[in-house]
Symmetry: C2
Subunit: 194 residues, 2 copies
């Protein structure tokens, strides 16, 4: 309700709305403030929402049978986050999401999205393009895991996310790269020695 046009145009970049559309979107979106270390989503929960990250830092992670955590995604300003597998297929979450830094999010439900797609077709276009970008970045990551060593992946990680690195623990990075914190530590040592 108190959302203004400038925030909406930040969330739905490159889309412009009429006043009526703005009101409609506002009534379907909810602002959320979370302290560092909060849990946004737990495995086994029903996933009805996705979240736009206005500020802060979150991560999506999977806990395997042996209890080890594997980070699928980090999200900072201007990213969207959810357990998209569960969100899209209407199944229970297998992922967990937590805040790594204090965060301000905008929450929108699947039902709202579908409703808005019908009423505001540019939103569906926006959403399709968002999926395309996400798809591309996942494709790059798969390729990296097929072709690069742990060291190469770490180097390209810190280049791709120079700002993230300040906020997050090394063991978060390690669990994203698919290696142990010990291995990451050795890689970092090697890199500073050269």
């Amino acid at each position: 309700m108190s959302l203004n046009n400038s925030i909406l145009s930040e969330i739905f970049k490159d889309v412009s709305f009429s006043q009526k559309e703005i009101n409609l979107i506002e009534s379907n979106i909810e602002k959320l403030s979370l302290k560092k270390g909060s849990t946004l989503l737990k495995a086994e929960e029903i996933v009805n929402n996705q979240y736009y990250v206005y500020e802060g830092c979150l991560r999506t992670y999977f806990i395997d049978k042996s209890g080890k955590e594997h980070t699928l995604q980090f999200a900072i300003n201007d990213w969207w986050i959810s357990d998209y597998t569960a969100f899209f297929t209407t199944t229970k979450a297998i992922m967990n999401i937590e805040t790594i830094q204090d965060a301000t999010l905008y929450k929108i439900s699947r039902k709202s999205m579908e409703d808005l797609f019908c009423k505001i077709p540019q939103l569906e276009t926006f959403s399709r393009k968002k999926m395309e970008r996400a798809f591309v970045s996942f494709q790059k990551r798969i390729l990296a895991s097929l072709t690069q060593s742990a060291k190469e992946r770490y180097v390209s990680f810190i280049h791709t996310y120079p700002n993230i690195e300040k906020n997050i623990k090394n063991y978060h990075i390690a669990s994203y790269l698919g290696i142990t914190t010990e291995s990451l530590s050795r890689i970092r040592k090697e890199l500073t020695n050269n």
Copy 2:
């Protein structure tokens, strides 16, 4: 032109069209027959098209600096294939696509798609949902590479693609799983021994 409604409803599942729409789509889509071993796309080429696989089997692969091939994706009946990174971002291909079995494809250009999205909004919905499914399957693959051993990934591969396995070489599977053909061979031996 000679495409009938039943083929279109196979390609664009769950979407129904008026006769006028059918004609419009037909004029934007092109049937393609390729012999096994043909090249559909080479790295460095401009990517203006994506392809629906009506029958046959293809693979998208990347060649790294050392000349090694890495298979990103297989495509069989009812899958879509392209170098989507290049297709979506209008950059040159980094992937190669070849037919592993004789194939019948339907080709559609980016320009045509965009045009059709405007004229037939259900197609945009279809395309968004297609991206969502692709995104989910890539997400699963990333998770698998983070959490599973080569053996586990192979076992889940042959469960997920029981039909593909008959058509393709082991070294294609190995390059998809991110291991060598020798390692795959040892894994297969272990599995038959147990």
